[in-house]
Amino acid sequence: MAIVMVPQTGEILAMANYPTFDPNNYTAFAAENYINNAVHDSYSPGSVFKLVTYSAAINEGLINPDGAVDCGGGVLKIPGRQIVDKHCLESISYPEAMAVSSNIAAMKTGLALGRENFYNYVQKFGFGQPAGVELPGETGGILRTPKAWSGDSLPSMSIGYEIGVSALQMTAAFATIANNGFKIQPHIIKEIRSADGKVLSATEPQKVQVVTAETARALRQMLHQAVLTGTGKRARLNGYTSAGKTGTAWKYNPKLKRVDASKYVASFIGMAPAEIRRS
């Protein structure tokens, strides 16, 4: 699935799903193709969710985006398991941590925030409730309250696991960063006019400030780095700067009762122009 959204206005310019179906000949297609997965499907986002983790920590002043993070030799002990991160062995800058998609750097950032703080930002970014687009069947995703979290939930959520999101929610979160910290309710209807052209109603999307413009700018710088030197190199554009994040999330396998490394959700969410010099 793919979504194109104007961050400043919240307008959804395009939304696509594949496999698809022909509404004029729908019986020829499998029923599951009728679903608009971009708003209906809830999945673990993986590394693209690090956007939320870093945004929260920078906005709270807990990390300095120009500073560095020490990955402690590339090993981090969290309750129940040990995380090994070959991308971050010693001290690296935050843009670099975003570029190589270091799990330990993001987990440490999440742990620095603490449960309640992190949870508040996840909510403020719009997760756990439908994004509010005028389309049927929108999911709110899955967001448990901190009371229901286990010992390793916070670090897991910091890298986009133990949470269910829709592609639209995730898009809106990136749009918030593109729009200097203001989250705009995504919508597909600009205005409704009568036959004689009179405007009957115009959409006034909700607008909420989630992080400061300064935080958003720092995030765009980090996302730009990911495209310049990191995992998102293939998103470099001809003629435009771009910024974005890759995500490769293992899917939960109900049979195995754990994530299964053979099934992925592979995503890239980004913005162009990157607008790192201005604003």
């Binding site: 194109v4 594949y18 001809n238 490769t248 592979a266 890239f268």
Partner: protein, 138 residues
């Protein structure tokens, strides 16, 4: 903002950077001129353009490929477009046959269009011009 999310991409490289980022690029490079967004970076006419990436990524989901190449406002030598189209044309009939380079990376899975795409994307040279690339193909 453009989001590209693929559920269980099959075959070859499957991570977000390999399979989804090129789609972001393909969409962005077509949509930004359309929205009259002023370019803020150098335009590199010699670079492999989105239009030159084989359109098999999602054949029915990206039908605008060839249509757009004629309308694109970005200054690009017409020659490149022609080569791109020619390559696309000559490649399509080959679709059922396993791509040559595929043998180099045995995966054991069924050969699929997506696999081919992934393999092609994988091999995409970093700084080669589209001319150089298509030469090998035709």
């Amino acid at each position: 903002v453009i989001a590209v999310v693929m559920d269980e991409p099959s075959g070859g490289a499957r991570d977000g950077g390999q399979v989804s980022a090129p789609v972001f690029r393909e969409i962005a490079e077509q949509i930004l001129p359309e929205l009259e967004v002023v370019p803020d970076a150098e335009i590199r006419p010699d670079v492999l353009r989105a239009e030159d990436i084989p359109s098999e990524i999602e054949p029915s989901a990206v039908p605008v490929n060839e249509m757009i190449s004629g309308e694109n406002e970005t200054p690009i030598p017409a020659k490149n477009d022609e080569i791109g189209k020619k390559a696309a044309d000559t490649e399509k009939p080959k679709e059922p046959a396993p791509p040559k380079k595929e043998n180099a990376r045995p995966t054991g899975d069924k050969k699929s269009v997506r696999q081919k795409t992934a393999a092609l994307i994988n091999e995409k040279p970093k700084n080669k011009s589209s001319g150089e690339r298509t030469k090998g193909k035709t």
